[in-house]
C-alpha cells in the first residue's frame, strides 16, 4: 500500500519532469516561491537579531529539500552579492532537532559574506543551503562528562551540542567555558546563564580577555581554568574511585585556543574557523593539484590546469584553449585559481572554472 503510493507519486513526478523539461519542475516552482524546490535545499530567513555589537543571529526556515544536520556540523550557506553566489560554511547554533536553523555570524574585517549578512540580512530573504559536513560531532556512545570550550564566534557548534543534549535530557556532567573580548560581545551569555541556573549538571564559565568586568576566569586558557571549572583529567582520579569517568572535550575557536587546550587535553576534538590564506604572488605555487574524480595528484608547475591534467595523463574535454568556448569548464571544489589572461584571482569557494585559462594559486582540488 505504502510502496504503491510511493511509486505512483514517483511516476507522477517523472511525468511532471517531462512536461517541465528540459529545465525541470524546480525551475518553474522557484519562480512562484524561491524556497519551492525539491532538488535544492534552501531556507528563508524568518528573523534577524543583533544581540552583540559584532555578530548577527539569523533564524532560518529550511525547505523540505534540506535533510538536516548533526550538532557541531557546518552548513555551506550561499548568498548572492552583486550577482555572484558566495558560499561560506557556518555551524548552526540550534539543536539538531529544531525545525528552525539558527546561525550566529561574527563579522570580521574584510569578510565579504559575514559583513553582508551583518548589514543586509532581512527577514524574507532566501539563502541556499548547499551541503552539510564536518565530523566535529557528539560522541557515538554516551560519556559521563563533556567539556566544551569555545572562543568568539566559535561558540556556535558547541552551543548546538549543548542545546541538543538538553533536548535529549543528557544526565552526565557538562562544563562549558566560553571566551570573548567582553561581556557585551559574548554571544548567548544570557541563555547560558539560564541553562546553568536550571540544569544542575551544567556549569558555565565566561572568560573576557579585553574588558574583564564580570569575567569568571582570568587571562587566557590554562590549567587553572580547568580547575576552576571543577574539571579533572581522568588521569588524576579522586581517591577511592576505581573506574575512570569517560570524558569528551570539544574546542572550537581560534588556532591559539585549540592549541592551548590540546596541551592539557591531548584527546580534545577541535575545530577552527580560520579563512584560508593564499600566497597570490607566486607564479608556480608549488601547491598540490588534486584531480578528485581520477584520484590523481600532481605538484603545481604554474601552467593552466588543463595542461597539467593532460601532462598527468588525463584527457578532459577541451576546446579552444583560449577561454572562449567553455568546453573545458569544470567544478573547482577547493583552492584558488588565477585567470592567466586577466590575472584575476578567484576566491577559495566552490565554483566552475575554465581549466584552459586557470592556473592554480596554492592547493587546488578539481572535480575531474
Amino acid at each position: 500500500m505504502f510502496t504503491q503510493t510511493v511509486t505512483r507519486r514517483g511516476r507522477r513526478y517523472a511525468l511532471l519532469e517531462l512536461l517541465a523539461g528540459p529545465h525541470g519542475v524546480d525551475r518553474f516552482t522557484e519562480l512562484v516561491d524561491p524556497t519551492w524546490t525539491r532538488g535544492e535545499a534552501r531556507a528563508r530567513i524568518v528573523a534577524v537579531r543583533h544581540t552583540t555589537p559584532r555578530s548577527v543571529t539569523l533564524t532560518l526556515e529550511p525547505n523540505r529539500a534540506f535533510s538536516g544536520f548533526r550538532a557541531g556540523q557546518h552548513i555551506n550557506l550561499s548568498v548572492e552579492i552583486d550577482g555572484r553566489r558566495r558560499t561560506r560554511p557556518y555551524s548552526p547554533a540550534s539543536a539538531e532537532t529544531d525545525r528552525y536553523i539558527e546561525l550566529t555570524v561574527g563579522r570580521h574585517d574584510g569578510g565579504l559574506v559575514s559583513n553582508f549578512l551583518f548589514e543586509r540580512a532581512r527577514a524574507g530573504m532566501v539563502v541556499g543551503l548547499d551541503s552539510v559536513g564536518g565530523d566535529f560531532t557528539l560522541p557515538g556512545s554516551p560519556v559521563d562528562q563533556i567539556l566544551f570550550i569555545s572562543g568568539g564566534s566559535g561558540i556556535t557548534p558547541v552551543m548546538s551540542m549543548l542545546r541538543t543534549l538538553r533536548v535529549q535530557r543528557y544526565a552526565g556532567e557538562i562544563v562549558f567555558i566560553h571566551y570573548a573580548r567582553s561581556a557585551e560581545e559574548a554571544c548567548y551569555r544570557a541563555e547560558l546563564a539560564d541553562i546553568a541556573g536550571v540544569l544542575p549538571n551544567v556549569t558555565v564559565l565566561q572568560g573576557y580577555s579585553a574588558a574583564s568586568a564580570g569575567s569568571d576566569l582570568k587571562g587566557r586558557f590554562g590549567a587553572e581554568h580547568l580547575a576552576a571549572a571543577g574539571f579533572r583529567r581522568t588521569s588524576s582520579l579522586p581517591a577511592g574511585r576505581t573506574t575512570p569517568k569517560s570524558q569528551a572535550v570539544y574546542v572550537c575557536g581560534p588556532p591559539s585556543l585549540t592549541e592551548a587546550v590540546r596541551q592539557h587535553c591531548p584527546n580534545a576534538i577541535t575545530e577552527s574557523f580560520v579563512p584560508p590564506v593564499f600566497d597570490l604572488a607566486a607564479e608556480s605555487s608549488g601547491g598540490r593539484v588534486t584531480f578528485a574524480n581520477s584520484g590523481v595528484e600532481v605538484t603545481d608547475d604554474g601552467r593552466p590546469l588543463l595542461d597539467q591534467a593532460e601532462a598527468a595523463g588525463l584527457t578532459p574535454e577541451s576546446g579552444c584553449r583560449m577561454g572562449i568556448c567553455f568546453s573545458c569548464t569544470r567544478r573547482k571544489t577547493g583552492g584558488a585559481v588565477r585567470n592567466v589572461i586577466t590575472g584575476a584571482v578567484s576566491s577559495a569557494e566552490e565554483e566552475d572554472v575554465q581549466i584552459c585559462v586557470s592556473a592554480p594559486v596554492g592547493d587546488v582540488a578539481l572535480s575531474l
Binding site: 511525468l15 523539461g21 529545465h23 525551475r27 548572492e80 553566489r85 558566495r86 584553449r321 567553455f326 569548464t329
Partner: protein
C-alpha cells in the same frame, strides 16, 4: 562524453614560428589591409574594452537574465495553458504565439547565451554553461562543442567551421560545386523548417560519414545523446501535452508543431544573417596560420554581420528595436558577440558604438543592415551558389 576534434589546426593563440604577415581582404570591392603592428593595437583596444565590461558585471546582469528567464517561463506556462482551450481559434492563436515566443527566447536570448558561459561568473548552477539545457532537440553538450568551440574558434574558415553550409549547403565559392548542389535552395528551405533537427544532427557530421572519412560507429555516443534529447522533446510536445488535453489533443498538437516551426524559421533567419550576407568574408586554413589575437579579432569582424531590425529602413523605434534584439538573442550584434562571446549579450548594444568606432579607426569594415535586406542577400547567395558556373 569524449569529443574528437576532426582537424588539429593551429590554435589562434599558438606561438608564431613564422613571421607575422599583413592581412589583405577585398570587401565589397575595397581592399582592406591590416599590418601585424596595427593588428596588435586593434586587439589591445578590444581587449581593454572587454576587460572594462567584465569588471563592471554584477547585479544588473544577474537581474536581467533572471527577468528574461521568468518572462520565458511565464510565456511557456501561459501559452500551453491557452492551447488547452485551443478549440477556440483566438485561444489557439494566442497560445501558439506565446509558446513560439517562449521557445525563441529560451533558445536565443537564454540558452545560446548561457551556454556561452556569459553568466558563469554568477556561480549559479541553474544558469551555468556546463549545466544548462535548452528547449530544442539538440543536446546542450554537443552544441557547446560544435558551436562554442568549432564555430567560434574557426569562424568562417571553410573546411573547419561547420556552420559554413552545415555540411549540406554550398555557402561559399570555396566549396567545390557538385551536381548535388543544384538542390541548394531546396535543402536550405528544408533546413529552415526543420532547423532544430538540423542543429541536433550537426555534431553527427553526416557529410564526413558519407565521404567515408569517419564511420557511423565513431559517432555512437553522439547519436545516443541526440536520440535521448530528441526523444524527450518529442514526447513532451507531441505526446504528453496533447494526451493531457484530452479532446483538445489535436489543437495542442498543432499548436506545439507551429510554435516549434516559428522558432525554427526565426532562428534560421537570424543565424544565417550572422555570417552569410553579402560582403561577409570567408577564410582559408592557410590564411589563419600563426594568427595573432588582433588578427583573430579582425577575422571575427569581417566574418560577421549585424542586424538593425525588422524595418527595411534603418530608423527603427528604440523599443521595437530592443524587442527585436531580445528575440534574436542579441545575435543582431553578431560582430560584438563574435568578438566577446562570453560577455552577457544584453551588453552588446551599449558597446556596439565603441566597437564600431574602433573598427572605423583601423579601417575594418563593419557590416550591418536591416533584416529584410540582409536576408535577401543570403537567399541570393543560396540560389546563386546552386549554379555550376559560380
Amino acid at each position: 562524453m569524449t569529443i574528437t576534434t576532426p582537424v588539429q589546426a593551429a590554435t589562434p593563440q599558438a606561438a608564431t614560428p613564422e613571421r607575422a604577415k599583413t592581412l589583405e581582404k577585398m570587401v565589397g570591392g575595397r581592399k582592406v589591409t591590416l599590418t601585424p603592428e596595427r593588428a596588435d593595437a586593434f586587439g589591445r583596444e578590444l581587449d581593454e574594452l572587454k576587460e572594462r565590461i567584465i569588471a563592471d558585471l554584477g547585479d544588473r546582469d544577474a537581474t536581467y537574465i533572471r527577468r528574461m528567464i521568468k518572462a520565458q517561463r511565464g510565456l511557456e506556462v501561459g501559452g500551453r495553458a491557452l492551447l488547452f482551450g485551443g478549440i477556440f481559434p483566438p485561444f489557439w492563436l494566442a497560445g501558439t504565439a506565446l509558446l513560439g515566443l517562449s521557445k525563441i527566447i529560451d533558445n536565443m536570448e537564454i540558452g545560446h547565451n548561457v551556454m556561452h558561459g556569459q553568466y558563469d561568473w554568477m556561480g549559479d548552477p541553474a544558469i551555468s554553461s556546463s549545466a544548462f539545457e535548452w528547449d530544442t532537440a539538440c543536446p546542450a553538450d554537443q552544441w557547446r562543442h560544435s558551436h562554442n568551440y568549432m564555430h567560434h574558434t574557426y569562424t568562417n574558415i571553410v573546411g573547419l567551421d561547420r556552420d559554413v553550409g552545415y555540411g549540406i549547403l554550398r555557402m561559399s565559392e570555396d566549396q567545390k560545386w557538385r551536381p548535388y548542389f543544384l538542390g541548394n535552395p531546396v535543402y536550405a528551405f528544408l533546413l529552415m523548417v526543420l532547423f532544430q533537427y538540423g542543429v541536433a544532427l550537426h555534431e553527427l557530421e553526416a557529410d564526413r560519414i558519407r565521404d567515408g572519412e569517419i564511420s557511423l560507429s565513431d559517432k555512437r555516443e553522439i547519436l545516443q545523446g541526440i536520440w535521448r534529447k530528441a526523444k524527450r522533446q518529442t514526447l513532451k510536445d507531441y505526446v504528453a501535452f496533447p494526451l493531457l488535453a484530452g479532446p483538445c489533443a489535436p489543437w495542442v498538437f498543432t499548436g506545439n508543431l507551429t510554435a516549434n516551426l516559428m522558432r525554427n524559421v526565426w532562428s534560421y533567419m537570424i543565424i544565417f544573417c550572422g555570417h552569410f550576407p553579402e560582403d561577409v568574408q570567408e577564410f582559408s586554413i592557410e590564411e589563419i596560420k600563426a594568427e595573432s589575437r588582433g588578427q583573430w579579432y579582425f577575422r571575427q569582424v569581417l566574418g560577421s554581420a549585424n542586424l538593425t531590425g525588422l524595418s527595411p529602413r534603418r530608423s527603427a523605434r528604440p523599443e521595437s528595436a530592443k524587442l527585436f534584439h531580445i528575440l534574436s538573442g542579441n545575435l543582431s550584434f553578431q560582430i560584438e558577440h563574435h568578438l566577446f562571446p562570453d560577455i552577457p549579450a544584453h551588453r552588446h548594444a551599449e558597446i556596439s558604438t565603441e566597437v564600431r568606432d574602433i573598427c572605423n579607426r583601423y579601417g575594418v569594415p563593419y557590416n550591418t543592415g536591416p533584416l529584410p535586406r540582409q536576408f535577401a542577400t543570403v537567399v541570393r547567395k543560396i540560389v546563386t551558389l546552386a549554379l555550376p558556373w559560380t
